[in-house]
């Protein structure tokens, strides 16, 4: 993949993470998460500008106007998604207690976004996501990890989880309790789960 493809992929992934985090900031009425959405937006703007510039430059060279239009408009639409995420997260940054119906609505959906903290005796502490097979074993996907003040976005199978990490996960509600037990160490994985 060339740099243009890389950037398109990054705005797509970032916009999705922003929507996930925006809804989760609402669900937990959490300003830190809402603030993250804000910061990701800055990155989005930067990428969008670079994409536009590069697409135009390519069009000058290879005269493929349709391709340039396609790329620019796609980037723009993806930008709109991140703008919508900003709008949603902005609610949390205001000093208005969220209407209880909002939290109820977010809870009611099939797929939830939740946060769990990794305890010292948890199987997750010191293991990579790949080793634990988090998604396979719990149905929940890690969309981001907070470690102290730092965030790891779009963690992959090589990402190590550590004691005290907060995992932001998305998945069906029925996977939540098991993951929570796993994270606080009250439940452990069996050897067959790790194969």
């Amino acid at each position: 993949m060339g740099p243009l493809e890389e950037m398109l992929l990054e705005i797509k992934d970032t916009s999705e993470l922003m929507v996930d985090l925006a809804y989760s900031s609402l669900l937990y009425n959490n300003r830190d998460i809402a603030e993250e959405v804000n910061q990701l937006d800055a990155r989005m703007q930067e990428l969008e500008n670079d994409i536009q510039e590069m697409a135009v430059q390519n069009a000058v060279e290879d005269r493929d106007i349709k391709k340039a239009l396609l790329i620019i408009r796609l980037a723009q639409s993806v930008g709109e998604i991140s703008g919508a995420a900003m709008k949603i997260a902005d609610v949390v940054r205001r000093d208005v207690p969220p209407h209880p119906v909002i939290q109820l609505s977010l809870r009611e959906t099939d797929v939830i976004i939740t946060a769990v903290t990794v305890g010292a005796t948890s199987d997750l502490a010191g293991a990579t996501l790949g080793k634990i097979k988090l998604a396979t074993n719990t149905g929940m996907y890690a969309i981001a990890i907070r470690r102290g003040r730092r965030y790891i976005y779009g963690p992959d199978q090589y990402t190590m989880m550590m004691e005290g990490d907060t995992l932001y996960v998305r998945g069906p509600e029925d996977g939540e309790q098991y993951l929570r037990d796993l994270a606080n160490g009250t439940v452990h994985l069996e050897p067959k789960d790790l194969k």
């Binding site: 993949m1 243009l4 493809e5 398109l8 992929l9 797509k12 992934d13 999705e16 929507v19 925006a22 809804y23 609402l26 493929d64 349709k66 391709k67 239009l69 396609l70 790329i71 408009r73 796609l74 723009q76 639409s77 993806v78 709109e80 998604i81 703008g83 919508a84 995420a85 709008k87 949603i88 902005d90 609610v91 205001r94 208005v96 207690p97 969220p98 209407h99 119906v101 909002i102 109820l104 609505s105 977010l106 009611e108 959906t109 099939d110 797929v111 097979k133 998604a135 396979t136 719990t138 149905g139 996907y141 779009g154 992959d156 199978q157 998945g171 069906p172 029925d174 996977g175």
Partner: protein, 210 residues
């Protein structure tokens, strides 16, 4: 345009605000995936469904606004309800963006493989998987299967013959020959593929507590 336009769908009037907002959020989550799927598979058909969901979103957004205005009695109410409206606006903006993505089909994305290249490289990919007659997933409802819990793959649509079922409800029962449009990681897809082709039996767990 009439000011006192009644909602298109009468049954929307019976939905609670909570139900309206839940549906809006659900649509906002599935509609973007569908829009990307339309580009990836160069499908006007999926594109049409994105627009259909988009107008459903507009109806819901309209309905929720009316409710908010009727519910507002004090300044305090208005402040809280405006927040709720902003969330609804956000969900509606996402669906509008999805509609814009689908409109890119007019630019013949097939001719410029860059888009499908990017979509294929994404961390969570969108894929198709046909349900084999060997698979014991057939004849089971999505609710009893909990596909996402078991495999981590999210079913965003099902193609059955010439018919499409978008954002399938829990009650939908899978049939042999169904084409599942799914989204998730490589790992999860491999697991789902084994079940869907019948290479592996769908796991059955003893009495679940809930």
């Amino acid at each position: 345009m009439p000011f006192f336009d009644s909602p298109d769908d009468e049954e929307d009037e019976h939905l609670t605000v909570r139900e309206l907002l839940t549906e809006m959020k659900d649509i906002s989550e599935v509609i973007v995936d569908l829009a990307y799927a339309a580009l990836l598979f160069d499908s006007q058909e999926i594109g049409a469904e994105v627009h259909h969901l988009g107008s459903r979103m507009d109806t819901l957004n309209h309905e929720i606004k009316i409710r908010m205005m009727l519910a507002s009695r004090t300044k305090q109410d208005a402040v809280q309800l405006s927040v709720l409206l902003q969330v609804a606006e956000g969900a509606a903006a996402i669906s509008k963006a999805a509609g814009d993505i689908v409109d890119l089909l007019e630019l013949n994305p097939k001719g410029s493989p860059i888009v499908s290249l990017v979509l294929k490289e994404a961390e969570e990919k969108i894929r198709l998987q046909t349900l084999s007659d060997q698979s014991d997933m057939k004849g089971k409802s999505l609710e009893s299967l909990s596909v996402e819990t078991e495999t981590g793959m999210r079913i965003i649509a099902i193609k059955r013959g010439i018919r499409w079922i978008y954002d399938p409800e829990k009650e939908v029962t899978l049939k042999e020959g169904d084409v599942l449009v799914v989204r998730g990681t490589e790992d999860g897809f491999e697991r789902l593929r084994r079940f869907a082709t019948g290479m592996e039996k769908w796991p059955v767990y003893p009495q679940e507590e809930s």
